[in-house]
Symmetry: C2
Subunit: 232 residues, 2 copies
């Protein structure tokens, strides 16, 4: 049976959520068929009897699951004979650490660079909600004020990415010889950027470009989608 995955999209149709992206990779990793249902920001609270406020949400038969970690755990528990997302509780714990690091040090910086771009690419009917909810987190600044001088944040992001470059110097994927959930988390962040960010964040000779290309090629080119350039 095909799993249904609700996917947050921009006005241009590009997939917008780094958290949905990691679940697309997770579903592909587990060789599970899925179809995506594109929704805008303001449609999410109306889905599934209004039970949830964020994506990803999956519908698998009569079961709905919201939240990327809950979905990942559901998939390993429900489909134990398919390739595992987590080879062991220890690997899962380390992926949780990776998620914490990537969220705090990488995605927060990406957000501080691209939040106005997200707004401008959101469906017109979603833009007022997006502005209001995000500006509430920005300590009284408008989106425009918040991204002022954003170019200066790119070197900070570059520096924050050093641990990934170091790990990827000795293995093709964060998971080692093969990609694991940490790769999917990190690829999702860059696919989010690629959907909307009008400023390239990486240098053309950044070694991460090779890993991104390897990652986007996985599962029949799942991540090879229409996007802005990530490097320049």
């Amino acid at each position: 049976m095909t799993i249904r995955l609700y996917d947050l999209v921009a006005a241009n149709g590009r997939a917008l959520s780094p958290f949905v992206w990691r679940i697309k990779f997770a579903l592909a990793h587990k060789t599970l068929d899925f179809e995506t249902v594109p929704v805008g920001f303001t449609e999410i609270p109306k889905l599934c009897d209004s039970k949830y406020k964020t994506v990803p949400i999956i519908e698998d038969g009569d079961t709905t699951v919201c939240d990327s970690w809950a979905i990942a755990d559901y998939l390993d528990a429900t489909y134990p004979d398919n390739p595992k997302l987590f080879s062991s509780p220890q690997e899962r714990a380390m992926c949780r650490f990776f998620d914490s690091w990537y969220g705090l040090e990488i995605m927060n910086r990406m957000f501080s660079i691209n939040v106005l771009d997200i707004h401008n690419h959101a469906r017109e009917e979603d833009q007022p909600y997006f502005r209001k909810s995000r500006e509430a987190r920005l300590g009284g600044k408008t989106l425009e004020q918040f991204v002022e001088g954003r170019e200066a944040r790119i070197p900070e992001l570059d520096r924050a990415l050093r641990p990934m470059r170091a790990a990827l110097a000795s293995a093709p994927f964060l998971g080692g010889d093969r990609p694991n959930y940490a790769d999917y988390i990190a690829l999702g962040g860059f696919l989010w950027v690629g959907a909307i960010c009008t400023t390239p964040l990486l240098a053309t000779d950044d070694k991460l470009n090779e890993w991104l290309d390897r990652g986007f090629s996985l599962y029949n080119n799942l991540g090879k989608v229409d996007r802005y350039p990530l490097s320049a």
Copy 2:
């Protein structure tokens, strides 16, 4: 047979190397007996027919192995029936990422705070070597110049530790319910600090103190050694 582990020590006898500390925990994790042989900085190149320049070094019968990752892999390969250090290649890859992160973001900051303390605690005969080799990395600064204003680096270290705090908010160890090699890497860094650093680096209410106490208590209180306070 008892494994011999060469251990770098300060003038006060305290174990000085974060990389040796992770191997002590690794040996204990694998339930292997070991004895430590205390050496100073300038003795290391004379050990084992002068084959190596750094610790940790282990002697296991006729086999000598240098470098913490090489030793960890040797232990899992040579003693496969003892508790594994790495449950899977994926967990090992994630521990390599953790090591990259911890080295770049945490240990580098610890070094920038405590390098003069290391010098001052080294055996008298080791101090000239330590000063010369470390000042060669400091772009022309003396150790004294390099640590000037070090108090200002403590908030940066505090901020850099956020991903560890986030991961440890949902599990007792970085490895999840049980400690893994990432815990040993991180505990080793704090034991290095505790051996010589005269400035406490953590707030007393830092949640990391609870994890440190759990970690130091492992394996019959392996990490409960004489040290400076880590928090204040």
